[in-house]
């Protein structure tokens, strides 16, 4: 509930009105495809590896369709948190609830992007994107590749792609099943600055279009300010800061002083 209290920096009324207003404003540009996201709730979630407690009783509510960025030092429990939400690991105590169901394993509608693209080298690009196969997988995979601008590379081997292209393929793979929750574990950490900016734009656009709930992990404060609607700073297994990012919520470009102030606040908390 402590995170809720900090959220109150935004008046609750405006917060609840946010979604429809935005859809109305965005309507001429792109059809309102939002609403594909699911809410995520963490209730007193702890995780310990042996004696070492990595997460200490986290409480957190992520709204459906929200874009949350978790920042923190390495070893601060960010990746652990993400793996718990993904269902790859079980919490030592507490529960994680997605769409009113406790997470008890991998979920069909939760997708994850890793720091490395993790493409199967023995599958072509389209084979990787459509890895789950299923009916008409080629068409869906091609649509997803179209969305990340790599439809012309569908039949290539992954090894001849650049690092940025590989991550775009991984993003396409994550989008194929129309996920309602997308978890991103420092996906752009290994990319050069320019490619990273490109990926930010791409991810932001796709998030707006698809409306999934996104949790992205990074140690890059600038990345957090560029992408998040809400930044969480994780320090020693607890949430040290829960900061809404006004310009991303309101879909406007931030002024430089505003960005600098936000980044300073996040940095101070990490």
């Amino acid at each position: 509930m402590s995170s809720q209290a900090q959220l109150l920096q935004i008046p609750p009324l405006a917060s609840s009105l946010r979604l429809p207003v935005e859809i109305a404003r965005q309507a001429p540009a792109s059809p309102p495809a939002r609403g594909g996201g699911l809410p995520i709730e963490l209730r007193a979630v702890s995780k310990a590896f042996g004696q070492r407690e990595v997460l200490k009783g986290l409480d957190l509510n992520v709204e459906a369709g929200e874009f949350v960025v978790v920042v923190g030092r390495s070893g601060g429990g960010k990746s652990t948190l993400l793996r718990l939400v993904a269902g790859l690991d079980r919490p030592s105590a507490g529960t994680i609830v997605i769409d009113n169901q406790a997470v008890a394993g991998l979920r069909r509608t939760t997708r994850m992007m890793f720091q490395d693209a993790r493409l199967l080298p023995w599958q072509t690009v389209i084979g990787n994107v459509g890895i789950a196969r299923g009916p008409q997988w080629r068409r869906h995979a091609l649509d997803a590749l179209e969305a990340v601008g790599l439809a012309d590379r569908a039949e290539d081997w992954p090894r001849i792609l650049s690092g940025g292209q590989r991550q775009r393929v991984a993003l396409a793979r994550a989008l194929v099943g129309r996920p309602s929750v997308l978890l991103l574990d420092e996906p752009f950490g290994a990319l050069d600055a320019l490619t990273r900016l490109e990926m930010h734009q791409l991810l932001k656009g796709l998030w707006r279009e698809h409306g999934f709930t996104a949790i992205l992990i990074t140690h890059d404060v600038a990345e957090a300010a560029a992408l998040a609607e809400r930044v969480l700073a994780l320090r020693e297994g607890s949430i040290a800061l829960d900061l809404p990012i006004p310009h991303n919520r309101q879909r406007r470009a931030a002024g430089e002083t505003e960005l600098a102030a936000l980044q300073a606040r996040i940095l101070a908390a990490v």
Binding site: L88, L120, A132, W157, I160
Partner: protein, 269 residues
């Protein structure tokens, strides 16, 4: 590379021709030495004599059936030993309890030189077909097992985790992630196994057989037909090379995704 290009040679050999220069020179030198009487025909007959032996044994109908018999034994042994080794490698690679139960025993058996059990095999099977096929199977089994097991165990766990996150069931995981990931290593085991296959067969056929190339050469020894003995050796070499070529072809077809097997033109970082 750049130096070679600037000094353009006046003529160019076709691709792969360089590798043939040395063996051809050896054969020519050998022929001259044998014809000139430098080497006694009983010690080492001339290449032309070996070719003549090829012609004679082919015409009198001893060569083809013996090659067929040897190739058949090799193939059966390879199939049996290879499949057992492959299955054990997969099971032990994927399933810890099986590994715990079987691996140390297999490692122990592997260190017995399989040719050392020939007397035992003869006692068990006599000199029939089973003896040869059994020996070849044992010889092929271990390299295929070790490399399959190693291939499965060294698959990037990140890829397996990714596949699970993306909803692949155990069956799809095996066919789309584990088997293709282990395949380069499995091919290494197969090529090793092929070498051992021919080696084992030669020894087994030389010691106890009533047909096959090994029998043919031992028979020729009795009659001091050194040219036929040499022909047998050449045929073994050719069979070995041939089976290696087939594997190489399969490798190139199955591993075209692999950077080491890419055509130079499309090899990019």
């Amino acid at each position: 590379m750049s130096i070679a290009k600037t000094r353009a040679p006046s003529f160019r050999l076709p691709d792969g021709a360089v590798g043939w220069i040395l063996p051809l020179a050896l054969i020519v030198g050998w022929e001259i030495a044998a014809d000139g009487g430098l080497i006694a025909a009983r010690v080492l007959p001339a290449p032309s004599a070996v070719m003549r032996a090829l012609w004679v044994t082919w015409r009198n109908g001893t060569l083809a059936p013996n090659i067929a018999v040897s190739a058949g034994r090799a193939l059966q042994g390879l199939l049996i030993g290879g499949l057992i080794g492959f299955a054990l490698g997969i099971v032990n690679g994927l399933w810890r309890p099986a590994e715990a139960a079987l691996d140390s025993s297999l490692q122990m058996l592997r260190n017995i030189p399989h040719l050392a059990i020939i007397p035992l095999v003869i006692l068990w099977f006599g000199i029939g077909e089973e003896a040869k096929i059994f020996l070849v199977s044992i010889g092929v089994l271990f390299p295929v097992y070790i490399n399959t097991y190693h291939g499965v165990r060294t698959i990037d766990p990140g890829l397996v985790e990714m596949a699970r996150v993306y909803g692949l069931g155990p069956f799809a995981l095996f066919w789309r992630v584990i088997l293709p990931g282990a395949l380069p290593s499995i091919f290494v085991g197969l090529r090793y196994g092929l070498g051992i296959m021919w080696l084992t067969l030669i020894v087994a056929e030389t010691i106890s057989a009533s047909s096959g190339i090994g029998y043919m050469t031992m028979n020729a020894r009795e009659f001091l037909q050194t040219d036929v003995v040499l022909l047998g050796i050449v045929i073994y070499a050719l069979l070995g090379k041939f089976s290696d070529l087939i594997t190489k072809f399969c490798e190139n077809a199955a591993l075209s995704w692999h950077p080491s097997y890419a055509k130079p033109a499309e090899r990019r970082p």
